[in-house]
């Protein structure tokens, strides 16, 4: 399970409603290579003042389908170049709004994240797993 900090923001900034609490948020998001689309918690989208551009049917389990809003935002992650300088790689995404999700790897260790980074986001990066080192690497 890989949870990383991601920066989310209205796209473009003029797409936010006036009076929004924040113009960008850094939130923990789980990388999910099994997800076609990315999700962001609606509480985060509300803070950014972002509204939906439509709804879509989402299969949340084998038995249920729910209608969820879709919002277009900028999602980015920060990385370092060979000189140690930080850079933010941000891409526009149409994300599905969802309630915040808490995943527990044990009763005493909840891992709260506020979204999923799916293949729509990951396609903009090289994603590698070094098994012996136990490391994931995202690069661009």
């Amino acid at each position: 399970m890989l949870i990383i900090p991601a920066t989310v923001a209205p796209y473009p900034k003029e797409a936010a409603l006036p009076g929004a609490a924040r113009d960008r948020c850094q939130v923990p998001m789980m990388i999910d290579t099994g997800a076609r689309f990315s999700l962001v918690a609606d509480t985060v989208l509300a803070q950014l003042g972002v509204v939906s551009i439509g709804n879509t049917d989402v299969r949340t389990s084998l038995q249920s389908v729910e209608l969820r809003p879709v919002c277009r935002i900028a999602v980015g992650i920060e990385g370092q170049d060979m000189y140690g300088d930080s850079h933010l790689k941000s891409v526009p995404l149409s994300v599905i709004a969802s309630p915040p999700v808490t995943v527990a790897i044990s009763r005493s260790i909840p891992l709260r994240h506020e979204g999923l980074l799916g293949l729509d986001f990951l396609q903009h990066f090289q994603f590698a797993y070094d098994g012996p080192a136990g490391e994931f690497r995202l690069s661009w």
Binding site: L17, D32, S52
Partner: protein
């Protein structure tokens, strides 16, 4: 609702309007497929406002025409199909 003066306090009302417009769009899809299949459209007040080749240009046009509080829909014209979020979520893993 004066969309030019909408603020964050109007967010719930705007989301409701988009939800209604999205339902109208889905109901209209059978009629739209013949002319607009695979195209991205800006849809509002029960009608297609503009047609585009990709989502980004449709989104930009919708924002230009109606602003962030426009209550419009940006969508691709195709038969609705439930999106599988993630196998992990679907199977409760």
């Amino acid at each position: 609702m004066d969309t030019d003066r909408s603020t964050i306090l109007d967010r719930d009302a705007i989301l409701a309007r988009v939800a209604n417009e999205s339902a109208r769009f889905r109901a209209t899809i059978p009629q739209l497929l013949a002319q607009y299949r695979g195209k991205w459209v800006v849809f509002r007040d029960g009608a297609v406002v503009s047609v585009h080749r990709d989502e980004e240009t449709a989104y930009a046009e919708g924002l230009r025409l109606f602003g962030p509080a426009g209550g419009h829909v940006v969508a691709v014209v195709r038969e609705p199909e439930p999106v599988l979020l993630s196998a992990a979520i679907a199977f409760g893993l």
